[in-house]
């Protein structure tokens, strides 16, 4: 891609780093290919400037905290004006997130030794609780907390831990802002529902007022005489008019006739003014008199008609009021339903808002805990790396031992014990970003079987059953069948010398397996006091090749006044004994985490 400048690559790298956030990585999740490939596409034209490319990649690690920074800035809840405010709980979370982020970032930049005392303590605490998830390490913590603490510090100082921390920071998740948006949406929805509810309330009030007015007007038509009351004014008027109606009708007819006659007469009189008409002389005065009579008759007729019309008006008004009342009552019923709906919807919107707020605060909590667990995750990755490396070494050693074993029965015993108790620890970390839970599984070790064998050995004081089951379980990979037949095994088991010579190996394998699943001080004491336990432990103490351990044993002997190793086992306290067993038999863990230093042992013994 021509024309891509180094800063653009840097920006692309950072963009890719930032875009990674948001989703917790699922176990077995396929890495997002497109982003890496997109970046590769941008970088390819610059392979002739390898330093530029690498420096840009490196620079992305210098700002591994960027995505979390953005996340922290987004903590708190926006109001409708878009201003971000924090509740007390959010403020506390933000403070924790900031502290965790600062610790992660400063650890990544300065290393353990560059941290302040409080930050170092915080990092140690987090590492310790991860390390102690390994039962063997928990036993070590019980046996010798100083050594355990020293181990923690030793690991925290390891550059490989820092590399893992950087990786965890780079893998870190981003806060899901859509959950905050959902609060705004829920709030808007609630506001809408509140407005709806207010409108319905207002409409309902108006309609009820109208109904009251109608009812009040209807009161004027009410007949309360049956209950000793009075007639409403308008009803009385109406009844009065109804009583008068026949007279009025008659008057109207009569007056209509009279008016017609007067009009005719006046018309004729106008023609005969000053002359004789109908036996009399028509004068201006007589014409005026007739005209006045006409006006009076017309006025009377109008008056009567108005009375009749008033009756009709009152009837219509009464009917209209009835209709209005019915209509208003229907509308009010509808509005009351709407009001109930609106209240319910407002309540639902309230609940939705509370849920959205709860989700957001929960997410902020997860985000904060995710930041706090960066060290946990890095610790788990780091320990896993070491344990797996040690595991491979143990595997190799076992295979070599089987290959070098001189006889088939020896091969069967080594291979069978290995098959029964398994090897190493199948650590699986479930500490993805934003996960609440971290599980640390000890996968392949058959914990219950190991305990059962240990109990049986201590009870019977006879390890023959361990040898027999080992030989029966062993399979020769070359043939796919057992190294020994059932008859051969029976024959061997019937040979007391064979059992005596080989039982120690089985007991040792059992002790090693038991340590991997965790050993308590009281269990260590019971084991050391059992005949076979004492034999195997003393044998290991005498033959252990580690100068450090031998020196420690000598110091211990002096301190407790023991004449020999068996005497030491009787006199040493339970915790020191546990420490000693961990140093002697700790399989994967002790080879990974080194043995006890003499100073620790002597301090523990003191």
């Amino acid at each position: 891609m021509a024309g891509v400048s180094p800063p653009e690559i840097g920006s692309a790298v950072r963009k890719v780093a930032l875009e990674r956030g948001g989703k917790p990585s699922e176990p077995g999740e396929v890495r997002v290919a497109s982003r890496v490939q997109k970046l590769a596409e941008q970088v390819r034209p610059l392979v002739d400037k390898p330093r530029t490319v690498l420096e840009n990649f490196r620079d992305t690690a210098k700002t591994p905290d960027k995505s979390s920074d953005r996340g922290i800035d987004r903590m708190g809840t926006r109001n409708e004006r878009g201003e971000r405010r924090t509740t007390d709980e959010e403020a506390r979370l933000k403070e924790r997130a900031n502290a965790a982020d600062k610790l992660n970032r400063e650890f990544a930049q300065k290393g353990y030794e560059g941290l302040g005392a409080e930050q170092q303590r915080a990092a140690r605490e987090r590492f310790k609780q991860v390390l102690a998830r390994d039962p063997e390490m928990a036993s070590l913590q019980t046996a010798n907390s100083t050594r355990f603490e020293n181990l923690v510090v030793e690991h925290l100082k390891d550059p490989k831990f820092r590399a893992r921390l950087n990786q965890r920071i780079a893998d870190g998740g981003q806060i899901d802002i859509s959950l905050d948006d959902a609060i705004l949406e829920a709030r808007r929805n609630l506001r809408g529902k509140e407005l709806d509810s207010t409108r319905v309330d207002r409409d309902l009030r108006g309609k009820r007022q109208e109904l009251d007015e109608v009812k009040s007007r209807q009161d004027q038509f009410a007949d309360r005489t049956a209950t000793g009351g009075k007639l409403g004014d308008k009803l009385r008027e109406l009844q009065q008019l109804e009583t008068e109606t026949p007279n009025l009708e008659a008057n109207v007819a009569r007056k209509t006739q009279q008016i017609e006659e007067l009009r005719d007469e006046i018309a004729n009189m106008k023609v005969f003014v000053g002359r004789s008409w109908g036996g009399t002389t028509v004068t201006a005065e007589s014409l005026a008199q007739r005209s006045q009579e006409l006006r009076k008759a017309e006025a009377d007729l109008n008056n009567d008609k108005a009375k009749m019309e008033r009756g009709g008006q009152l009837e219509r008004e009464r009917a209209d009021l009835k209709t209005s009342r019915g209509s208003l009552e229907n509308e009010i019923d509808d509005l009351e339903v709407q009001q109930n709906n609106s209240l319910a919807e407002k309540e639902i919107a309230n609940v939705s808002l509370a849920e959205a707020q709860q989700k957001w605060i929960g997410h902020q909590k997860d985000f904060t805990e995710g930041l706090e667990r960066v060290i946990d995750g890095a610790a788990a990755d780091f320990i896993e790396d070491r344990l797996m490396a040690a595991e491979a070494a143990v595997d190799e050693a076992v295979q070599k031992e089987i290959a070098e074993a001189a006889t088939r029965e020896e091969k069967a015993i080594i291979s069978g014990l290995d098959a029964i108790y398994g090897r190493g620890k199948n650590f699986q970390i479930d500490a993805g970003w934003l996960r609440r839970k971290m599980e640390w599984r000890v996968g392949k070790l058959p914990k219950d079987l190991i305990q059962k064998h240990m109990d049986k050995l201590l009870e019977t004081e006879d390890p023959a059953f361990l040898l027999e089951s080992a030989m029966s379980r062993a399979i020769d990979p070359a043939t796919g069948r057992g190294y020994l037949s059932a008859d051969e095994i029976a024959e061997k088991m019937a040979d007391p010398e064979f059992v005596q010579q080989n039982a120690g190996k089985a007991v040792e394998a059992l002790i090693k397996a038991k340590i991997k699943t965790g050993l308590r001080p009281d269990e260590a004491t019971v084991l050391a006091q059992s005949p076979w336990g004492e034999f195997v432990i003393a044998n290991q103490m005498e033959n252990n090749q580690s100068q450090e351990i031998q020196t420690s044993i000598e110091i211990l002997k002096e301190k407790v006044g023991a004449i020999d190793t068996k005497d030491l086992l009787k006199k040493v306290d339970a915790k020191t004994l546990l420490g000693l067993l961990l140093a002697l038999f700790g399989a994967v863990a002790s080879s990974t985490f080194k043995g006890f230093g003499s100073s620790e042992l002597s301090r523990s013994a003191a």
Binding site: R31, V36, L39, A40, V43, R44, V47, V53, L54, F57
Partner: protein, 124 residues
Amino acid sequence: MTLLQKNPTMELVDVSNSHRDEILKKIVKDLVMAMENNSVTEADLPLIANFVLNNIDTDQNHDQLIAHLDELSKRWPFFEKVEQLERGEVKEANEDRVEKNVLIMVKAGQTEQAISLAKSVMKV
């Protein structure tokens, strides 16, 4: 084990700047290819860059360089090719030098030493 380790008396070959740059180019080419094949995560990129840049300039000789390339390819196996190429080149360069030395010794009449030197190469 490299030829140089087998022959401690032989001088260690210094890494030239141009060779250093060649190695860097090969590393970045392989890295880009791994990115294209999705064999590397984004989180690994700064770690790889850090590792390479921190070590490449401090490597004084090919042994140190090979040791770092070895470590690099153990953590990110797609760098194995660079490591193998580097091992091969060093071996070839040393064989050339041994050949010259054998000829010089033969000319100087030091036949036995010449045979011994030649055998040491063949053992590798």
